[in-house]
């Protein structure tokens, strides 16, 4: 109804609708700059420091990303020639987290993320488009387009709002000295997220990380190295040409990945700190997979020892790849009822 030009062209493709693939898998979480699991981490880079025993804290983060999922797809408006699409034009995320220190060296944390996606409707399509009767025919038909093509008929369109996969984590600090710290974060995501709307993974993912930190007074240098172990997801061309119909091309996939992160933070004043953070992934399995890298500059405001606000801005470093948002802004809040000496930075 809303995209008449597209639908008229779609009628030409009606005859090919049965050629579409059922592989328009949408089980990808494309929020690649994920907030840290507790108040001791920076915006997106976790720190080895753990909360002290029975320290309870909360985090809240709001993020905005421009074009966090860009893919090359066939454009039905251009006779199914390949064209770049920002499948998700904008994404807003909200992450609410809680953590509790069990011992001085071990903590539990949970984070519930939700998201709002603004899609490119030309890429997404519509579950039911009316094709009016042609010529002397008394009856026309309806047909699905875009991501809905070739799938069981639905009345429900892709959701603009959805829950993403909740994150559960255990953090352990192996060593925490005056100048150096080392720890690990073992994170699990639960596949409750909306897999049909680019909000959730296909299954449970396991994301272990090794966390390192060099503490040079007001200057902290942090690093993390880890992996994402997941069931792969594959998105095939939803609108293949006649020649591609027998074997639609794979447009995007995810598999196991290595993860990295690095950060530099400096506390300029009791109330203010600055930081540079960067995170990324390197794929190790699957076809049509690609690395990601994001960089953020952060301003931390610490009105009290218990409270930290942060504002970060940046974007993807590999902008031609999927999942590298062109621009990103994040607002964070971290609160601890019983913080360690020195506060939350």
């Amino acid at each position: 109804m809303r995209h008449h030009a597209l639908w008229l062209l779609c009628t030409l493709g009606a005859a090919f609708s049965n050629l579409s693939t059922a592989h328009a898998d949408r089980s990808f979480d494309v929020a690649m700059a994920r907030p840290t699991m507790d108040a001791y981490g920076l915006q997106v880079v976790d720190r080895a420091q753990t909360p002290q025993q029975f320290e309870f804290g909360m985090t809240a983060n709001i993020g905005w990303a421009r074009a966090p999922l860009r893919l090359t797809l066939n454009d039905v408006n251009l006779n199914r020639a390949e064209a770049p699409f920002s499948v998700i034009e904008h994404q807003v995320t909200l992450d609410l987290g809680f953590y509790l220190g069990l011992w001085d060296f071990l903590s539990l944390s949970a984070l519930v993320p939700v998201g709002v996606n603004v899609y490119d409707q030309n890429a997404i399509g519509d579950p039911s488009v009316t094709v009016l009767p042609a010529g002397s025919a008394t009856m026309g038909s309806t047909m699905p387009t875009g991501m809905y093509a070739g799938q069981p008929r639905q009345n429900v369109a892709i959701s603009n709002v959805g829950v993403r996969d909740p994150r559960l984590a255990v953090k352990a600090r192996f060593y925490g000295g005056k100048y150096f710290e080392i720890g690990t974060l073992l994170e699990l995501t639960v596949p409750i997220g909306d897999q049909s709307s680019f909000f959730g993974e296909a299954n449970v993912t396991f994301r272990p990380k090794l966390l390192l930190g060099a503490l040079l007074g007001r200057l902290h240098i942090l690093g993390s190295f880890g992996a994402v172990i997941r069931q792969g997801s594959e998105l095939y061309e939803p609108s293949p040409t006649t020649a591609q119909a027998a074997s639609p091309p794979l447009r995007f996939a995810t598999g196991h990945e290595l993860t990295w992160g690095g950060a530099l933070s400096v506390r300029l004043h009791r109330l203010i700190g600055l930081g540079l953070e960067s995170v990324g992934t390197i794929p190790v399995s699957g076809d049509m997979v690609s690395p990601t890298a994001s960089a953020l500059g952060s301003l931390y405001i610490l009105p009290t020892d218990k409270l930290r606000f942060s504002i970060s801005g940046g974007g993807g470093l590999l902008v031609d790849n999927p999942r590298n948002a062109a621009g990103r802004v994040m607002f964070g809040m971290a609160y601890s009822l019983l913080p360690r000496a020195g506060g939350l930075l």
Partner: protein
């Protein structure tokens, strides 16, 4: 939620030096609420000021308010705690209702593990579900059943003024022995505030807007005062008046052009275009109160309302009359409602005798149930400009008497006993079609005059909606609580209930119209503040008058007097604990995990155009499953609540797995759902923020899809165009802020509901695989906001 579970499991294994840091609990063994010396029938034993003072920063004994919040006053017909009650009980108190910004009872219920909100008939009626089953809970006000006997439509809507409620006690699972019929899978007991709870005048006014609840104004005044005379008992007066006016939620949905409505056989469903809803403005006036003089209390509620909603049956929009000149809806507001409110008067006597060893609670009541229906069948369209509507006034009545007693017996026994005697009846309501020519209607309309060659029908086609009927119910119950040792409580009870009259009970296990129910439970305080519960509970739901006496020749499915009672039984286990008492900033962590196996039999379904206990369609017969409908439910319900400093955080998780003997796995219910809730004190006693994140997993909804189109753009969903719509997970986020001034004498709040504006859909409780009534997903409201100012001038 997972975190909470992990916490719970982990804390079980904490070393003894950690547990040794816990402070002793105020309520120790021997002074338990289950102790036989406890006063059962007295009102709330805790002064309200105790709770209030805690919220203002008095931390001299910080555990007290937590323990008060756990107290169960009447859901178990005895004073106990949620940890020790013989059933699965959740208590929501008035301070939590206010702090969390709840505006109606459905919002309260959906934050309880095992409960979900839903709606049916478009948005005509709110339909909360317990363990994935609709119309399965018994709604009580101060212990008086408000079960509506014609349609079993409860008043889970705005007509219940939450500011008058002291606490809501919710039992998850059957409660038939204590509460009788219709406590099928749950009990929702609303306990109203006493004069001492209010002690002055409270006033408030607010306004809200947003597509979820447009142009909403609400104001109330609540007065409560006790007067003590030199001689004679105390006189207490509570009076409440509220007024609300609002528009129904805004939707843009497919407009129905033509369909085969009940009880017609399944046929094509034809749609025109998408249309905006435009319901007529609604209002609700509540006048209620109670007067107590010594042991006698007179309570009354006299609401008046016009409660229009936006969507009607088959999700038809209230788009109104079609203007053929502009070829668009004329824009006139449309009346579309299923009124759901109750008027009642109750007279209660409460007393204790024999040095408090014997208690007596007698209630007599008269109730009028208003369920007037005035709804859109087909919105106006180019082919049917006026549209098709129908209306009927469904008024039913109840007169009754309930007696509850308790007696303290030797050998650490306490006996609860009592009975019910009430009479329900409904006069014959007539359905009319004000906008339709009777000769165009697909039903047999009465003739104006017989003997004419061309039939002349009576205007508006008045036909009976259902036939007048009645039922007399009598019941007796007895339940004993035995504490052989202080850490162990055993509980067992039986109830005998009979239904007589035109709509008498059928299929009962005592003489056909008599029902014998039993229950048993064990509660073991096995370690410090940890309890284990094992519980067997049963219940039943007799067919409502609309099942037994509906007029199948009009717009209804055929009723039948052969219908049997639906029965429920559940085997339930619970582990609950209070951990981390006063450790660091943590005041307490409460955990609860329940598992229940629930078995429902003889569920009334629609088959071949009539109500029946067994599905007799072709597929059922072919599979040899032509037996009474049978549903089994495996459920895990867990809850965690943490009090940290002045903050409160809660999390709930529910797992649900339902199978039916005739439909297999019930795919239209989410298997996973969880809630996070918080009240964070920004400035203690002055400013707090609150929030709720409700996450409901994905589920399927059997519907039809539109497969054909016509030249005018209308589309057709044939009876064979079936699909399972994959309904996405829901993330409903509510946020609010509240400020209080002058020691709580003045407050203001601003709450946002469904902040992310998720356009989600309601679960389909009836799981109709050949959809007739609901053929598209039922949309839920978008975002809304409400600003409120209140005060207590004296």
């Amino acid at each position: 939620m997972k975190k909470s579970l992990l916490l719970g499991l982990f804390c079980l294994g904490l070393p003894s030096w950690v547990l040794a840091q816990e402070v002793p609990l105020p309520a120790r063994r021997g002074t338990s609420a289950l102790d036989p010396t406890y006063d059962v029938l007295l009102p709330d034993p805790e002064p309200v000021e105790a709770t209030a003072s805690k919220s203002e920063g008095d931390k001299s004994s910080p555990a007290t308010d937590i323990d008060i919040a756990d107290r169960v006053l009447s859901a178990a017909k005895q004073v106990t705690t949620v940890q020790e009650a013989p059933s699965i009980v959740t208590v929501i108190r008035s301070d939590e209702i206010q702090a969390r910004g709840y505006r109606n009872i459905s919002q309260v219920l959906e934050n309880i593990p095992g409960w979900l909100s839903s709606s049916n008939g478009g948005s005509l009626l709110a339909m909360p579900m317990v363990r994935g089953t609709a119309q399965a809970a018994l709604l009580l006000r101060d212990g008086v059943s408000l079960f509506e006997p014609v349609t079993n439509v409860g008043t889970y809507n705005r007509s219940l003024p939450l500011e008058t409620i002291k606490s809501i006690e919710v039992v998850t699972g059957p409660g038939g022995v204590l509460w009788g019929a219709n406590s099928f899978l749950g009990i929702v007991n609303l306990i109203s505030k006493d004069a001492d709870d209010i002690n002055g005048l409270e006033v408030s006014a607010g306004y809200g807007d947003g597509p979820g609840s447009p142009q909403d104004f609400r104001a109330y005044a609540l007065f409560g005062k006790s007067f003590r005379f030199k001689k004679g008992p105390k006189l207490s007066i509570v009076q409440h008046v509220s007024y609300e006016t609002y528009l129904g939620s805004r939707y843009n949905v497919l407009s129905t052009l033509s369909r085969n409505s009940a009880p017609s056989p399944v046929g094509p469903h034809i749609y025109s275009t998408f249309a905006d809803t435009n319901p007529e403005r609604s209002f609700i006036v509540n006048i209620d109160g109670k007067i107590s003089y010594g042991p006698v209390t007179l309570s009354y509620s006299m609401p008046f309302a016009l409660m229009n909603t936006s969507l009607s049956f088959a999700n038809s929009p209230t788009s109104g009359r079609w203007d053929t000149a502009t070829n668009a809806p004329a824009g006139e507001p449309v009346r579309n409602h299923l009124q759901s409110f109750d008027r009642f008067v109750t007279l209660q006597y409460k007393g204790r005798f024999l040095k408090d060893r014997l208690g007596l609670d007698v209630k007599s009541y008269a109730i009028e149930f208003i369920r007037d229906l005035d709804a859109v069948l087909l919105p106006g369209s180019a082919r049917n400009p006026s549209g098709t509507t129908f209306n009927t006034e469904i008024r039913s009545y109840r007169l009754g008497l309930t007696i509850d007693g308790d007696a303290t017996l030797p050998l650490r026994n306490r006996l609860l006993w009592g009975g019910d005697l009430f009479y329900d009846w409904v006069p014959e309501p007539t359905v009319r079609f004000p906008l339709s020519d009777p000769k165009d209607l697909p039903i047999s309309c009465p003739l104006q005059q017989s003997g004419l060659t061309t039939p002349v029908f009576q205007p508006q086609c008045p036909v009976p909606f259902l036939f007048a009927t009645n039922r007399l119910v009598t019941a007796l119950y007895v339940s004993d609580t035995f504490r052989p040792v202080s850490s162990l409580t055993l509980d067992a009870g039986v109830r005998l209930q009979g239904g007589f009259g035109k709509a008498e009970y059928n299929g009962g296990n005592i003489g056909g119209n008599g029902v014998l129910l039993g229950s048993a439970s064990l509660v073991w305080n096995f370690y410090r503040d940890m309890h284990l519960k094992a519980n067997y509970a049963s219940g039943f739901r007799p067919p409502v008058f609309n099942n037994t006496d509906s007029n199948g020749a009009a717009v209804q499915f055929s009723g039948s007097h052969q219908l049997s009672n639906e029965t429920s039984q559940a085997f339930q286990g619970e582990w609950n604990a209070k951990l981390l008492r006063n450790i660091g900033p943590i005041r307490a962590l409460q955990l609860r995990v329940d598992y229940a196996y629930t078995d429902l039999r003889g569920l009334i379904v629609i088959s071949n155009g009539s109500y029946t206990n067994r599905r007799t369609d072709v597929s059922s017969v072919a599979r040899g499953s032509e037996v009474n409908s049978h549903r089994t439910i495996h459920s895990v319900e867990s809850a965690a609540r943490m009090y940290v400093g002045d903050h409160t955080l809660s999390a709930n998780y529910t797992f649900l797995h339902i199978t039916t003997n005739d439909r297999g796995l019930l795919r239209s219910m989410p298997q996973h759902s969880f809630n996070l809730g918080w009240v964070l004190s920004v400035i203690p006693g002055w400013l707090d923020t609150n929030g709720t994140l409700q996450v409901v997993g994905s589920y399927d909804d059997p519907n039809r899809y539109r497969s054909l189109s016509l030249a005018d753009g209308s589309t057709i969903a044939n009876a064979s165009d079936l699909t399972f719509d994959k309904l996405p997970p829901q993330a409903i986020l509510n946020l609010g802020v509240r400020a209080r001034f002058f020691r709580n004498r003045l407050w203001t709040s601003l709450n946002f509901y469904n902040v992310l504006n998720q356009r989600y859909y309601s679960p389909d409780p009836f799981y109709d695989l050949a959809p007739t009534l609901e053929v598209t997903p039922t949309p839920a409201p978008g975002w809304s906001a409400f600003f409120q100012v209140g005060g207590k001038p004296f």
